[in-house]
Amino acid sequence: MSTIEDYQSLLSDLVKKQMVMLGPAVALTNARKISALTVAGDGSVTAISGDPQAALDALANQYMNLSGQIAQATLASLLEKYPQIKSQTSG
């Protein structure tokens, strides 16, 4: 069973990686479009309101709109570290 901490950690990793890939402004702006997430300036997801899985899928979609397969590959790679979490968008 995935804990909220697992989701927070995964989401934080995802945002931080996107900050390196796409640039901090673009990555943070898009992460903050997900209303369920509270994202700090360093990319850490400090709070998730509501369904964490829905928030993960929404964030993954947001990044895929920007970098398509790159974001998909990044998420797939991160999900390997969190086998208990699945994403509908990870392919």
């Binding site: 990686k17 390196v20 890939m21 796409l22 640039g23 402004a25 673009v26 709109n65 398509g68 990044t74």
Partner: protein, 588 residues
């Protein structure tokens, strides 16, 4: 008083309503104005996106050059965003090229910072550290200003992915803080994805076509080698790998090494590529095979510049062997014709020098008999050559009719009995009683029997020649007549048997026989005749010295008419009594 108060109240309320209405209207107007501006901005963004994608579509055409996409997107940024530098990194063959265009003067450290951020992004995207690879750097645009050392304050990266592979990234960077936080960058990501998808689709189509071409080249019966203008190997097809005996995926060095000792492939390629010898053709011998090699430069259709070269390796071993057989055959024929002519000439010269009146009648008779039999041999040779010429020209007529095959066989045996007796050979004949009528060309089948019987006699020094003829049946039903001519002569190895029926059979099989010379074409002509009447011919031998048996079949008259109707054989019209004949042209 009450009325006055009421009027005042109405006036105040009316005034407030008017003011409120004004503010409401103003607010609505402002909202509409904002909406209009937003729509206008949205429209402008859409127009920009469409224009950039259109330009990408027009400029890349059928090229898959990621550079062009990156250049177009980079070049269009000025219309959309403020920036100090726009840079791109392209990955190609384990090298990275880094190109920066400076819009606002920045320092070297700023550019180094951009480069570091792009390498970090590349490493993250590729999931492979790319921080210490060689980078080819190019900077253009505004002059660098080393006096200021403002770092990169704002930046974003656009990845360009072609067919699932990262082709490169674009970086937009500025000295100004707080940029690129809004949705103004979204259009660029949409453009990048749109362009990537368009090029990926194009690449898929090209890959598919390339795959078809590669499959065709791979299955060619000639060896094909293709290199680009830098002599990098593009294609080494299966046949080439077989001919050269190289590994499954050879490098150009493997191919050069495989050809060492025959010719220097590198030098030949350089000669062809330089144009000194645009097309080269020559022959080499490699692994007991003769190969015709031809190399040609390949130029681009548009620019007429050399883009690579193709080397073809055509296996001509068989053609060379055939050519040698032809030459040997010609030499043999010349010899076979010259020998009897020399004999005739000598005999005539001898009679002439002695004087006809001085030679006794008995001796003169012997001389004339010698001339007659020698010229007969020559005539046979010439007739064989003529028959072969007719076969090759498709003018060798076979005229079939209903006839008694047993009768023909017996007649031929009778004519050969004196020869057999002269050589001390026995003859055994077994022709099935009441042999049904067959469908064949009497003259040509006589020729077949002559060939088989004369060969049996020729190649048998002692023993018996057996001739059998019987109806062949399948499941009890007669299908044809099988004739066999067996001897106890020199025989032949099994692997050489089939060669006897080829044009140069005697040369190929080495079945020459000392004294009795012939064209060696008899079996070839025999095969054509038997096949021409709709039969089959083959030979069996237990090996050298174990005798030979030749078999051939002739269709039955009843069945042949039916079968031949379906074989498109020519049936001459209007030939009166010959209307039941069928004729066919026998060709190679």
């Amino acid at each position: 008083m009450d009325i006055t108060i009421s009027l005042a109240a109405v006036t105040i309320i009316g005034t407030f309503s008017g003011i409120a209405g004004y503010f409401l209207m103003r607010s609505k107007y402002k909202r509409e104005l904002a909406k209009g501006r937003s729509r206008e901005a949205e429209l402008a963004t859409k127009v920009y996106e469409t224009a950039v994608l259109k330009e990408i579509g027009e400029r890349i055409g059928y090229s898959l050059d990621a550079n062009k996409i990156i250049e177009i997107i980079s070049g269009s940024l000025g219309q959309l965003l403020p920036y100090s530098t726009v840079s791109h990194m392209i990955l190609k063959d384990d090298r990275i090229s880094f190109v920066t265009n400076v819009n606002e003067s920045v320092s070297h450290s700023f550019i180094n910072d951009v480069r570091g951020k792009m390498l970090a992004a590349l490493s993250e995207m590729l999931m492979e550290v790319k921080l210490d690879v060689d980078v080819d750097e190019s900077i253009s645009g505004a002059i660098l200003d080393e006096s200021g050392s403002l770092p990169v304050a704002s930046f974003f990266n656009l990845p360009i992915v072609i067919s699932g592979r990262l082709a490169g990234i674009i970086n937009v960077a500025s000295k100004t803080e707080g940029l690129y936080v809004g949705d103004d960058t979204a259009v660029l990501y949409r453009i990048a994805i749109g362009a990537s998808e368009a090029v990926s689709r194009l690449q898929e189509v090209l890959e598919e076509e390339k795959g078809k071409l590669a499959a065709a080249v791979e299955s060619l019966s000639d060896g094909v080698l293709m290199v680009d203008k830098n002599y990098q190997l593009i294609v080494a097809n299966k046949k080439l790998r077989q001919l050269l005996g190289t590994i499954e995926s050879p490098k150009i060095f493997d191919i050069v090494n495989a050809l060492a000792g025959t010719f220097d492939l590198r030098i030949k390629m350089e000669e062809v590529m330089s144009g000194a010898e645009p097309v080269a053709s020559f022959e080499i011998v490699l692994h007991d095979k003769v190969l015709a090699v031809s190399a040609a430069r390949v130029s681009s259709q548009r620019r007429q510049k050399p883009i690579g070269l193709v080397v073809l390796f055509h296996d001509i071993t068989d053609a060379k062997a055939l050519e040698k057989l032809r030459q040997d055959f010609m030499a043999m024929m010349v010899h076979e014709l010259r020998s009897p002519l020399t004999s005739i000439k000598s005999t005539v010269a001898m009679i002439k020098s002695a004087g006809v009146g001085t030679i006794g009648a008995e001796d003169l008779g012997k001389y004339l008999q010698n001339i007659a039999s020698t010229s007969e041999t020559m005539l046979d040779l010439v007739n064989d050559l003529l028959d072969v010429a007719k076969v090759e020209a498709g003018k060798f007529d076979i005229v079939c009719d209903r006839a008694d095959l047993g009768e023909v066989i017996l007649e031929r045996i009778e004519s050969f009995k004196p020869q057999m007796a002269a050589r001390g050979l026995l003859i055994e004949v077994d022709i099935e009683k009441d042999l049904p009528a067959a469908w064949f060309d009497k003259v040509r089948i006589k020729q077949v029997m002559n060939n088989l019987l004369s060969n049996a006699i020729k190649y048998t020094d002692a023993g018996t020649v057996k001739v059998l003829a019987a109806v062949e049946k399948v499941n009890g039903a007669p299908i044809d007549i099988l004739v066999s001519v067996a001897d106890t002569g020199i025989g032949i190895e099994a692997d050489q048997a089939e060669k006897l029926f080829s044009k140069f059979g005697q040369l190929e099989s080495g079945r020459g026989h000392g004294e009795l010379k012939s064209s060696g074409l008899g079996h070839y002509i025999t095969k054509k005749i038997v096949e021409g009447v709709g039969g089959k011919i083959w030979m069996e031998s237990a090996g050298a010295g174990a005798g030979s048996t030749f078999f051939f079949t002739v269709p039955l008259a009843a069945g042949a008419k039916r079968d031949q109707a379906g074989q498109n054989l020519v049936v001459p019209q209007g030939q009166g009594l010959l209307k039941n004949f069928t004729t066919t042209k026998v060709g190679q």
